[in-house]
């Protein structure tokens, strides 16, 4: 193992102290309101927890996020399987999905406004659609990339279709599906924040926009920290799951 990876507790703590201390000093000496030193952020954070503002905002964000993501999983996996099994259909769909996936979502916001309005449905769509694309594209790839060596072994043991699916195709696709779930979750989190900042100003994204118009960076930073930790927890959990099943991909 490389010596670089030898974990250290002191170095991150030291650098945290340097960064936060420096920020505190600089922020205080210039303009504590505008540069929101850590002490200011912590004060704001406890105030927002006490007033229940943060919990209420997080609840609104979670509702759209989890419902949209759940729908994306329910729709995305079967659609991906269809694209993988009927490979001609998959090939035809591929360019559209790729084009939509690589278009920055902020520029699609005007279209979403005319199609879904600015409320919950619009946010739900922002979460659902892009997560569903990520999940279905990866699932399709997994279905197509059944390991030829295992397929051959199964054939020579005269496995029937059900056995083939049960023992070869589905286990082979699982690592890909999990990768899709992770990428979809990343997309979903950004989607809900875009919806809350650009459409109806609610939830954690709304707190950021509100803080921006009230010129309260401390408030914005609180919301940013909550969003970032929420995203990190969700993505890390899915990442661990993905790693757990990585070996099922076999040696490529």
């Amino acid at each position: 193992m490389n010596v670089l990876y030898k974990p250290s507790v002191w170095l991150p703590l030291l650098s945290l102290a340097v960064v936060l201390g420096g920020w505190e000093l600089v922020g205080r000496s210039i303009n504590p309101l505008l540069f929101a030193p850590p002490s200011e952020v912590i004060k704001q954070f406890s105030a927002m927890i006490e007033s229940g503002e943060l919990a209420a905002a997080a609840k609104i964000t979670m509702q759209a996020l989890f419902l949209g993501y759940f729908l994306a999983v329910v729709v995305g996996i079967p659609f991906g399987i269809i694209m993988g099994v009927f490979d001609r259909f998959g090939d035809i769909m591929q360019p559209y999905l790729y084009a939509i996936f690589s278009t920055p979502r902020v520029v699609v916001v005007p279209l979403i406004v005319v199609w879904f309005g600015i409320g919950f449905e619009a946010r739900l769509f922002l979460v659902f659609f892009w997560a569903a694309i990520a999940i279905s594209v990866n699932t399709a790839q997994g279905v197509r990339h059944a390991r030829p060596d295992l397929v051959e072994v199964a054939r020579s043991f005269q496995a029937n279709r059900m056995q083939m699916a049960r023992h070869v195709l589905i286990p082979g696709a699982i690592p890909f599906v999990l990768a899709g779930l992770r990428i979809g979750a990343e997309r979903a989190i950004v989607g809900v924040i875009i919806g809350e900042m650009f459409l109806q100003i609610v939830g954690l994204g709304g707190v950021i926009t509100q803080g921006s118009s009230d010129l309260l960076p401390a408030k914005m930073l609180c919301a940013v920290v909550v969003i970032a930790s929420m995203g990190t927890i969700i993505v890390t959990a899915l990442d661990m799951l993905e790693r757990r099943f990585q070996s099922w991909k076999g040696a490529v």
């Binding site: 670089l4 920055p104 994204g205």
Partner: protein, 251 residues
């Protein structure tokens, strides 16, 4: 599993696009609601209008310039920090946590902060692009330079290459090139998003500003006509770097 030739796939895709556009056109004419779904011909007309009025070219050139400056700065910063993190354990444990945190934070959430702290002139927009793009570059430089090409370094030494810096650029960077390009490709994709976010947030210049202003006028045909070049820009840049990556795939 049988595989289909790329020619067959291409043919199917072309037929698919034609069918798709025809269905769109017919549906749009049937709905007859330009606000919700403009027809393909209306979008083409809007596109032509944007093209000959010079609006599109101007917006695109602004956006591309922002992207170039942003990616250049991201590359410089990402390279320096990545090289530090790759060669020093202290730097790794002091810097890496912040970059992981930055990577996990949606760029869009940081835009209002950048607005308050740096204003929304060109520098502010460049900062947004850098925030979006710097992390993949830094990570790829760090992982590319960490694998020590010991045999190559030994050969270079015996041919008289002296000094860590010379070794870094003449041996290590070159042997890590495929990894670095992969990082640049990821960064370009994120950079395009950062660019769009920065321009859209204040309805200010560039292709993002164009889309935002037509969006607030509810001219859906013009919105479609300006989203299209933006998507193409992103796809083109990413696939160009991808091609470069395959060309230099020597490790």
């Amino acid at each position: 599993m049988k595989t289909r030739s790329s020619r067959e796939i291409r043919r199917d895709q072309i037929v698919g696009v034609l069918v798709f556009l025809t269905v769109w056109e017919i549906t749009a004419r049937f709905l007859d609601n330009k606000l919700v779904l403009p027809s393909v011909s209306q979008i083409m007309a809007a596109f032509w209008d944007l093209l000959i009025s010079g609006e599109l070219i101007l917006a695109l050139s602004e956006s591309i310039w922002l992207l170039i400056v942003g990616l250049f700065i991201s590359t410089v910063i990402g390279f320096i920090l990545g090289a530090l993190v790759a060669r020093s354990r202290t730097a790794y444990w002091m810097l890496n946590p912040y970059f992981s945190a930055l990577f996990a934070t949606p760029t869009i959430a940081l835009v209002p902060l950048v607005l308050v702290w740096f204003g929304f002139g060109f520098p502010g927009r460049v900062i947004v692009v850098v925030l979006a793009a710097v992390v993949p570059i830094m990570f790829s430089v760090a992982s590319g330079l960490r694998d020590d090409p010991k045999d190559l370094v030994d050969v270079a030494r015996s041919f008289g290459v002296k000094g860590e810096l010379a070794l870094l650029f003449r041996v290590r960077v070159r042997s890590a090139l495929p990894v670095l390009l992969a990082g640049l490709r990821l960064a370009a994709g994120r950079g395009v998003v950062g660019m769009a976010v920065a321009e859209t947030y204040l309805r200010l210049g560039g292709i993002g500003g164009l889309i935002k202003s037509y969006g607030s006028l509810f001219q859906t045909d013009y919105v479609f006509a300006s989203i299209l070049p933006l998507s193409l820009l992103g796809i083109t840049i990413v696939s160009l770097i991808g091609r470069l990556e395959r060309r230099f795939h020597w490790s």
